[in-house]
Symmetry: C2
Subunit: 462 residues, 2 copies
């Protein structure tokens, strides 16, 4: 890896609506709570993700893809705007109470669909928003021509009520199927012009079901591999894992339906498909259930929060199929984060990054093109947990090392040698031998905090 | 109970050194981590505390005694100075790192032994200090003529190294025995003048042993009653409970030795004996092991912190034997806190509270005398956990209700109806029916925070 760089904005030409007519479409798929470890293309032999795996086979798989914050709203904000949660005022998932008090993604944070819309794209958000419920934050005002989904964090997996371009509709059927029905309709209606469909599944978030029988059937008799952590209720963890895989199957099956429709319409060759998740997940890993705000389940009993930035919580699958550009089966080792989506999507579509976008990402489209570019050697994380627990975490991760600081609390800081200890089981923070590495990482972490005007710095200095 | 009052300072006469010659002695005993539920006099049929029980039989037992903060240092500060932890800058136990950075009980916070010393008492601290390790904070400079013990939070239960009036000494034997040997020596040397011995055991703090065989023997075959909490490793919890009782026995046996020596010296009639603990304790209660900063052990596996202000963590035994004044077997229902020790000890000894003592307690000596006095109807708690976890808790507790706020975090606030639910199992914070009570308690809690200049108020307003 080469020296770290702050960003690599696409500066290619093009960019007016007329030129846009020949631009590729993009279908961007984000699942909810789907860990990297749950995907076949990343080595899972028990989950069934043939369509996601197919995208990786026909395109590129990023082996080191991270989110900056291991819960929904701040990660989604990063994905859409290239900005860290603290930069947009969203530091934990937006609770109903916070949404009611008017918390949402501020208009000052430009989304990449806004840029695409300006460039003549037909834009759709199908599924979950979770970035504010006031009218000012509505997807229609944040770059999306079309919105079919829900504004809050969740919905029923079966027979949900969804908002269809401003009007609530009670529907029958499974949520992933309903969303993909709508996405297919949008693609059909816009087959003749550049379009961007952002398909944001709620699955495989809790509750894992109900799902259609065809999605649960393959796992009925599965005895899944689960983490070997003392005290886990192994039967419960296996049940959760089976149900998680079933929910993932319902997503994957629907991705297959969508890709089939795109193919039938003859659009595959000029449509970029990006697949990722909003953060990682744990079902018993490290004794935890769920994500960065996971609860302690070692012992089989639900305990308090265990705020964490384990790789299991931060790593996501990221697969890009870019016909005619990316060679099938490409594997990209460079570390990327959800913040990179903004410049990278624009980079793939040949649209310059607007000068006023304060986005923090780097354009990974040259990596997809197989070009040699200077690339960062570290990714950063941040999480101010304040729902049902309290933590102020900051993280830096290189290929070999991860430093996690738990601010305002002491005795919780973490340092892992990922080369020797990829599962992050041996905390070296207190190790004398590792002190030079720790101090150097700490300096870089503080520099990064300064560079993003991290409010925590001022808070700690008081 | 009558209306709440901020304090009830003793204003009786006396107060010069000469008058002091006829004053009663005081022996004040504080154990470490000893829950109210662990004492025979409070109904425990399995622990063996005959000498503590004897003090209650010959004196008064407080049925509603609390500490303001459920960990060591702030509770000890409150006990000695009548001030809340936030008022003296000690909000969690003083860690070795904090002690190294110069944290300790500031000289501006007057201790009641300082007042007694000024009044002509010979004063001793025997045992644990844990209020700073810099020379400026040394017990010799905070009111104690004699110090035999240790400055930090802990020591070995067997063969410890102790500081004996400024010089380290390596000793052989059990820590409680060594401490009581020294206390007896001090009493013998000062039999002819008013003395104050503060005996601060480290037991029954973890590690519970080793203890002399005579202390563990009574529990070898005990199958102790333990909390009925799902997922506990019952065998482990029973082992801990047996070892805890053994450690408590080592304390009680030594209290017996000390009382015997006092009796032999003919001092019983003119010696007040106060027994209490620095806070409560849990061995599996609510799924937690230890205290306000306890860890989650439901499931039999040690999990993250579970910051709490359960009664099990806040309630302490408090027993006062005051010969010639308190009738044996007296039970006092009024709620008292460790902050009350300052004015109450002075009240019992006939010494006025100094005008410059900013102590926050109320003098409970009139209650011991059997007088009718206006008394508070609520006690308050505070705890800023910052070691190995993070929480900013504030509490108000009346006879019927307890409100616990977890500041900076949401979803953790607690409200219990102690009349219907003495074990605090049903959190009513979100209950519509309980909202009027909740709001009223919140107002009183905020008023109290203002009255003590709680730094958290300003922090939250920013």
């Amino acid at each position: 890896m080469a020296s770290a760089i702050a960003s690599l904005p696409a500066q290619r030409g093009g960019g007016d609506g007329a030129a846009g007519a020949s631009r590729p479409n993009i279908i961007s798929i984000v699942t909810d709570d789907q860990a990297r470890w749950s995907v076949g293309a990343y080595g899972n032999q028990e989950a069934r993700t043939p369509h996601i795996d197919g995208l990786a086979r026909d395109g590129a798989r990023f082996d080191n893809a991270f989110v900056p914050t291991p819960v929904c709203s701040p990660s989604r904000a990063a994905f859409l705007t290239g900005r860290y949660g603290t930069q947009v005022g969203i530091t934990d998932w937006i609770s109903p109470a916070e949404a009611g008090r008017g918390l949402g993604l501020p208009a000052s944070a430009i989304t990449w669909p806004e840029v695409l819309k300006r460039e003549g794209y037909a834009t759709a958000l199908v599924g979950k928003w979770h970035l504010g419920e006031d009218p000012a934050f509505h997807p229609h005002r944040r770059g999306f021509d079309h919105f079919f989904g829900f504004l809050g964090g969740g919905n029923r997996p079966m027979n949900p009520t969804l908002e269809d371009n401003g009007r609530p509709r009670s529907l029958q059927g499974s949520l992933p199927d309903l969303l993909v029905d709508d996405a297919i309709g949008f693609v059909e209606r816009h087959r003749d012009r550049p379009f961007a469909v952002l398909l944001h599944f709620r699955a495989p978030h809790l509750p894992y079901g109900p799902v259609p029988y065809e999605d649960s059937a393959p796992f009925e008799t599965l005895d899944p591999t689960i983490p070997d952590v003392p005290g886990l209720d192994r039967a419960q963890v296996k049940r959760w894992t089976r149900d998680y895989y079933a929910s993932i199957h319902s997503v994957d099956r629907n991705i297959g339906r969508l890709l089939q429709a795109v193919d039938t319409l003859g659009l595959t060759a000029r449509t970029v498909v990006l697949f990722t998740s909003d953060h990682g997940y744990m079902i018993g890993h490290h004794g935890i259930h769920t994500k960065g705000n996971g609860v302690w389940v070692a012992g089989g009993v639900t305990g308090p929060k265990r705020p964490n930035m384990f790789d299991t919580a931060l790593r996501v699958p990221l697969v890009v199929r870019w016909p005619g550009v990316v060679r099938g089966g490409t594997v990209i080792a460079e570390p990327v984060t959800a913040l990179d989506t903004f410049p990278s999507v624009l980079g793939m579509l040949g649209i310059p990054v607007p000068v006023d976008a304060a986005q923090q990402g780097a354009d990974f489209s040259p990596l997809l093109r197989g070009q040699q570019v200077a690339w960062r050697d570290a990714v950063f994380g941040q999480y101010d947990l304040h729902h049902s627990g309290l933590a102020f975490m900051r993280m830096i991760r290189t290929a070999q090392w991860k430093l996690v600081r738990h601010h305002m609390a002491d005795g919780l800081d973490e340092l892992y040698d990922l080369q020797q200890d990829p599962d992050e089981l041996r905390n070296l923070y207190g190790s004398e031998a590792a002190r030079p590495v720790r101090d150097q990482l700490q300096m870089r972490l503080t520099d990064w905090q300064r560079s993003i005007d991290d409010p925590l710095l001022a808070r700690l200095q008081r």
